[in-house]
């Protein structure tokens, strides 16, 4: 047991199988799936300085590596910060999972998926992690496609794209072996970079290879899909940083930053412009992830001017923002008793369910990056970095944000304008919202507004998160 790999990868995987066998007892699995990641995150924080724990004069030492099939998996003390972030995500989503009608496998598989994402960061050689990412995609299927409904196109597209990325990454690893010492490396470097970048583009779903994102978001429950996408976004961002940290040829490629910047602008632009025309809130969730991927790409591209600092600062606010949006969408879905949140369903809803509506609108404003909300302080920095860099990028990003604002206003207009039928039957009066929901809304609003005024609250704890990427920091 006294091994970091066993504690933060092996044990949770084993516990997740235990939860699978206990899944008849939904309450118990939900409680366990909430407590276990919280404990794991807490332990990760506790050991993040040193793998020694002193209790009552006794010292507990943890080993930091494990050999499996001849390869080493290593989690050092400095890397435990990342582990704690991933388990906190798992905790946050499991803690509220009972409020919504999600897949019966959610609690057990969420723990398994988190453990797999942790393992992605620490397998050596790290390109083998690509296969683990494929495993994660396959494990997610029962969550994304609950029983009783046929398999839809989104999930199939998702699986296809994740699978296509796998060989690209693995072959890149083989192709660039010894590239640093190769005399005619330029062509190889470019090929390797293309494989790595396209692999990541397929994984995260960057325009125009993003189609699975909105499709999947439309088909799945917002609570589940947001959990998977948040973990994926955080996990892949860290994994890409690992690539940059390990591969000097990639890190020093002059075209890489330009490419990342254009990818960032394209993501923000496409997400904004497409979202502006959408009439389905579930799909918009996908576009928000696309836009956030753009901001991540920008942070990485500007790593020479403090971009990675921004990336760490924005980590918790971004997770919180997605979490708040997921809560609001899932609550809306529950109170409207509809499978997808089309604008038709949301007509005039602000008068019937003011608190849930306010939460939804505030969450969207937060994700867009408007002032007063938690994502603004960090997005402001990214916008500044973009504006220092070049005008076309600023313009494209600004158009993307404008698109998102257009979508917000269309939604706002729908929510305040009662449909004809409602208007005639006079159902404008407020329906009674549960007191629990009201309290939850107030608390979540505080959680997304306070860091908008005092961002240090969320950014300071993760200041040292990327310390293990010694070539980047």
């Amino acid at each position: 047991m006294s091994n970091t790999v066993v504690i933060w990868i092996g044990l949770p995987i084993a516990l997740s199988f235990l939860l699978v066998s206990l899944q008849k007892y939904q309450k118990i699995t939900a409680v366990l799936a909430t407590i276990i990641p919280l404990i794991l995150a807490g332990l990760a924080v506790l050991f993040s300085n040193d793998l020694v724990l002193s209790i009552a004069g006794r010292q507990f030492f943890l080993e930091d590596s494990l050999v499996l099939f001849g390869r080493t998996i290593q989690i050092t003390a400095g890397q435990l910060g990342m582990v704690s972030v991933l388990y906190l995500v798992c905790f946050a989503w499991n803690a509220f999972s009972r409020l919504f009608i999600v897949s019966q496998w959610f609690n057990s598989l969420s723990l398994l998926i988190t453990a797999l994402w942790v393992s992605v960061q620490f397998i050596n050689p790290f390109i083998y992690s690509a296969v683990v990412i494929e495993l994660i995609a396959l494990t997610s299927v029962p969550l994304l496609s609950p029983r009783g409904t046929p398999a839809k196109n989104g999930i199939i597209r998702f699986l296809s794209m994740q699978t296509l990325a796998l060989p690209l990454i693995l072959v890149s690893g083989w192709m660039v072996t010894g590239i640093e010492t190769s005399p005619s490396a330029q062509a190889l470097v470019l090929r390797g970079a293309i494989l790595v970048l396209i692999g990541f583009i397929l994984w995260v779903g960057i325009f125009p290879l993003h189609s699975w994102l909105p499709m999947l978001a439309e088909e799945s429950h917002p609570w589940t899909i947001s959990f998977l996408l948040v973990l994926m976004q955080v996990g892949l961002a860290l994994f890409f940083l690992k690539f940059l940290n390990q591969y000097g040829w990639l890190r020093n490629l002059p075209e890489l930053d330009t490419f990342l910047k254009w990818i960032g602008a394209l993501c923000i632009l496409s997400a904004g412009v497409i979202a502006a025309f959408q009439s389905n809130l579930n799909r918009m969730l996908g576009y928000f992830f696309l836009a956030e991927t753009g901001y991540l790409a920008f942070s990485m591209a500007f790593r020479g001017s403090g971009g990675l600092e921004v990336l760490t600062m924005t980590l918790f606010p971004r997770i919180l923002a997605h979490w708040a949006l997921a809560v609001s969408l899932a609550s809306m879905q529950r109170i409207t008793r509809s499978e997808t949140l089309t604008f038709e369903v949301l007509k005039g809803i602000i008068r019937r369910y003011p608190f849930a509506s306010v939460l939804l609108l505030a969450s969207i404003l937060n994700l867009i990056g408007m002032p007063l909300f938690s994502l603004y302080p960090t997005k402001h920095i990214v916008w500044k970095l973009i504006s220092t860099d070049n005008l076309p990028l600023s313009l494209l990003s600004a158009v993307g944000v404008l698109g998102m604002l257009t979508m917000f206003l269309r939604l706002f207009s729908t929510m305040i304008n009662p449909g004809n039928q409602n208007h005639q039957t006079g159902s404008e009066e407020s329906n009674v919202e549960e007191i629990g929901l009201i309290i939850m809304v107030v608390v979540i609003l505080m959680v997304i507004i306070l860091p908008g005024l005092f961002p240090n609250v969320l950014s300071r704890p993760v200041q040292e998160l990327l310390i293990s990427f010694e070539n980047l920091t």
Binding site: R71, Y128, S145, P150, A151, S160, T163, L164, L170
Partner: protein, 199 residues
């Protein structure tokens, strides 16, 4: 003569993949998948020792078995009808697959010289052929069973290629898990579709 003998598995594997791309009869597809995995063995054997070379075909057979049992449970196995006239879609897919293989053959020397100099050309042809047919399968259909077969074909092509480049026990274990999970996912989809059709 021996050269022809070594090439037979390559063409059988590709033919099986083409059948899966073209025909839409579950029983035939399962048989073709079995053939595909069985005849992968001599190809894998040419680059790996016997005990390691057995893993992929064995996994493939397990995968096929899982899919077969699932199809039996939902009543999807029907008597094979060989005398059905091919549809225009089937002809198109078959021609597209063949065209891809012909194009691959013409690009193969360059690909081998520039990118994969260590991989024998027959081996490269078989692996890239499977990858391309798998991709075509993924791009031309959205039915879960065939998507699963497409992904399996694509992955087996890739595995075949990667064996010639590098080998790792950890990676092999992970890829076996992926294949088996993929079969389970395919089975999951088949069951879901059958359930939703009955309700």
């Amino acid at each position: 003569m021996s050269e022809i003998l070594t090439q037979i598995p390559i063409y059988l594997v590709l033919l099986a993949a083409l059948v899966n791309l073209t025909r839409r009869q579950w029983t035939i597809n399962l048989v073709a998948l079995t053939v595909q995995y069985l005849f992968l063995f001599p190809l894998v054997r040419s680059v790996l020792p016997m005990e390691l070379a057995l893993i992929q075909p064995f996994t493939g057979l397990m995968v096929t078995l899982i899919l077969y049992l699932t199809l039996v449970s939902v009543g999807g196995i029907e008597k094979v009808k060989l005398n059905i006239k091919p549809t225009s879609g089937e002809i198109f897919r078959a021609l597209a697959g063949l065209l891809l293989l012909v194009m691959l053959q013409s690009f193969l020397p360059g690909l081998q010289r520039e990118v994969f100099p260590l991989v024998p050309s027959d081996h490269l042809f078989a692996s890239m052929g499977l990858i391309l047919i798998g991709l075509l399968q993924l791009g031309t259909i959205s039915e879960p069973f065939y998507i699963a077969i497409g992904i399996l074909t694509f992955l087996s092509g890739f595995q075949l290629l990667y064996y010639a480049l590098d080998y790792s026990y950890l990676l092999e274990a992970l890829l076996v898990t992926v294949n088996l999970l993929l079969a389970i996912v395919g089975a999951f989809f088949i069951v879901k579709n059958a359930e939703s059709e009955t309700t």
